[in-house]
């Protein structure tokens, strides 16, 4: 199923589409205000991009430096080539700890690896503790946004879900009271948690520490109450120095939500005495993406979600229309690396307006990569055959002046002469479902020009 088909389903509820668009635009506007307030913001983007580019160019070395530093801190370091190995490692650590209850803070990587269902199949209770993640976990839905996982839901939906799962009053939809109910419910889970899983925003090669940024405090609470902390990170989370965090912490929250910084920027380097800390370093297609020169810059991503908030397509089609863990523009350039056939329509789910590129805090050339993925997909025959052959035909027509002129005359004449009902039939013409076709003029520009006196003398052929 293509993005367009899933988007059309989302669009059926026009009011909800308006609400979704406006809610995310509100986040984009908060981001703008935060960005305008930092005079050096564009310079910071350039620095962040440079630091990430440098890191990718020495990635194997920084990974080893990080591993050695983490091990010196008393941390167990694990390596997972793919999602299956990542999941197996985490299950193994959990079992060795004799634990059955896991509290988890937000980690897109564990979503990508489908860790929760795997652990539950093996008899482990996993509780997502980020409020948005908990909401969608109750509903058995994937996140629709990487920073705002439940942004596709209205407060009434959350109220219904909490009524079912937490026993809140039926019809209660006040965000304050619903959040309080979740706080009470999750406090009990934190207190009972044996193993805490967290994601990683940044992994510092020189210190071996991982940095986790949250607003709710759920990572800190989970990790510091449990006996075992497992931090799961993609290989691209590495940054060289502690001081580089000055750049990234100034960019991340401003880009994500318009906050000057996340409430908690927590540095985990060593386990508390008597406790365990593990770091699982995951590839899962990332080294392959590193080997694609046109697309490796996608690995600079710090998962702020700004490209989603600004994307006019995402805001009107919802995160689920992408059918990939990371939706939106960045998801559309990450997903074909994972499964080109399945995600073939995503690079086309864009007007290439370029707003994603311009909000990206690490300057990923997102819209250029979308364009380039289209070429890769075209070459691999992963675009609809009708499109492919009509483009081939167009290529021949437009490379020849004569054929082009005749085709244009014919089309305009047809538009003028055929009845509106036929030229605008939705089944024949996707344009005309919501739009009128242009009124076809009797004469093209070139036909007009040919009759002008200026048309006659061609310029002298001396080179310019």
């Amino acid at each position: 199923m293509s993005h367009a088909i899933r988007a059309d389903k989302f669009l059926l509820d026009a009011d909800r589409t308006t609400w979704h668009d406006e809610t995310l635009w509100f986040v984009r506007e908060k981001r703008d205000r935060a960005v305008y307030g930092v005079p050096e913001f564009q310079e910071l983007r350039e620095l962040a991009s440079g630091i990430k580019n440098h890191t990718l160019s020495r990635l194997d070395l920084y990974l080893q430096e990080f591993e050695a530093a983490a091990q010196a801190n008393g941390v167990h370091v694990h390596w997972a080539a793919d999602a299956a190995e990542h999941n197996a490692i985490i299950l193994d650590i959990t079992r060795k700890a004799g634990a059955t209850r896991i509290v988890k803070s937000k980690s897109m990587l564990t979503e990508e690896c489908h860790l929760n269902p795997y652990l539950m199949q093996h008899g482990i209770e996993v509780v997502d503790t980020d409020l948005g993640e908990r909401i969608i976990q109750f509903r058995d839905e994937p996140p629709s946004h990487i920073v705002l996982p439940a942004i596709h839901l209205k407060k009434e939906d959350v109220g219904d879900t909490f009524h079912t799962h937490l026993g809140t009053t039926k019809g209660e939809s006040d965000p304050q009271r619903l959040t309080e109910a979740a706080r009470q419910h999750l406090r009990a889970k934190f207190i009972a948690g044996e193993v805490a899983i967290s994601g990683v925003n940044f992994a510092i090669a020189e210190t071996g520490a991982v940095v986790v940024c949250t607003n709710e405090g759920n990572a800190d609470l989970g990790v510091n109450l449990a006996r075992v902390h497992i931090a799961a990170m993609g290989i691209e989370k590495i940054i060289p120095r502690l001081s580089d965090l000055g750049v990234f912490t100034r960019l991340l929250a401003r880009s994500a939500t318009g906050q000057p910084v996340t409430t908690y920027t927590s540095h985990f380097a060593k386990p508390a005495p008597g406790k365990e800390m593990h770091i699982v370093i995951v590839d899962n297609g990332r080294t392959q993406q590193l080997g694609r020169p046109d697309f490796r810059a996608s690995l600079k991503c710090i998962r702020c979600g700004a490209c989603m908030n600004t994307c006019p397509v995402y805001r009107r089609s919802g995160g689920h229309s992408y059918d990939f863990t990371v939706p939106g523009p960045i998801g559309a350039i990450l997903s074909p690396n994972i499964d080109m056939k399945k995600h073939a329509s995503l690079p086309f789910a864009s007007t290439l307006c370029g707003s994603c590129t311009d909000v990206c805090p690490v300057k990923i050339d997102i819209h250029t990569q979308l364009y380039k993925w289209r070429q890769v997909l075209g070459e691999a025959n992963e675009i609809p055959a009708s499109k492919k052959w009509s483009m081939k035909f167009m290529g021949r027509v437009l490379a020849s002046t004569r054929v082009y002129g005749l085709g244009g005359q014919f089309a305009r004449k047809a538009l003028r002469l055929l009845p509106h009902g036929l030229t605008h039939a939705p089944s024949m013409n996707a344009w005309a479902v919501a739009r009128e076709l242009p009124e076809a003029p009797k004469q093209s520009f070139r036909e007009w020009y040919a009759k002008q006196p200026a048309a006659q003398p061609a310029p002298s052929q001396t080179s310019a």
Partner: protein, 189 residues
């Protein structure tokens, strides 16, 4: 086998990485390191600054701000609950107020650096219902660059705390008091 995966990942990263690119130098961007800026920004993210004449006014100030706090933990004075790193979760979960010394304040975003050594227990700053951080106003810097420049290292655990715990996960409505402290006050002297 993870040993194999380790070698495979490192070999692939080495083979697929681009030619080496330079590591940029990050300048100190300067900026405004004032109490006023810190106070305004912290208020904007749901926290509060209370000025004190000096650290000796701490207990009187707390008495005024938190007259109802019964379970109070602090390394700065004799609280009602003694906390150390062995304190069981059940005791921590009852704490109303933790009063901890902060090390560095950042004017651009209202955050305060809190190292493990100042926390009594790693979970205390988040599990407490209310958090008060005591900060010498001379330790306010302008930006995160300057804050990191002042940190020799981040120890076993440490964090920047910017205001109270919050969430906007329901319809982007801001709610203060998600999982961590419901309020945050910085006591500046």
């Amino acid at each position: 086998m993870s040993t194999t995966s380790r070698e495979r990942i490192l070999a692939a990263a080495k083979a697929n990485k681009p030619a080496e690119l330079p590591l940029p130098t990050v300048p100190d961007f300067g900026g405004e390191a004032t109490v006023e800026r810190f106070t305004t920004v912290l208020a904007g993210i749901g926290g509060t600054v209370v000025r004190m004449g000096g650290p000796e006014e701490l207990e009187a100030t707390l008495q005024q701000l938190f007259p109802e706090a019964r379970h109070v933990a602090s390394p700065l004075f004799r609280g009602t609950v003694p906390v150390d790193r062995e304190t069981p979760t059940s005791i921590l979960a009852e704490i109303d107020l933790a009063v901890l010394p902060g090390e560095i304040g950042v004017a651009e975003n209202g955050c305060v650096w809190l190292p493990e050594a100042n926390m009594l227990h790693r979970a205390l700053p988040t599990i407490t219902q209310h958090l008060a951080l005591v900060l010498d106003q001379r330790r306010i810097v302008a930006t995160m660059h300057q804050a990191y420049a002042q940190l020799p290292d981040t120890g076993g655990y440490g964090k920047f705390v910017a205001g109270p715990s919050k969430t906007a996960d329901i319809e982007q409505s801001l709610v203060i008091g998600a999982h961590g402290a419901r309020s945050l006050v910085v006591l500046l002297y």
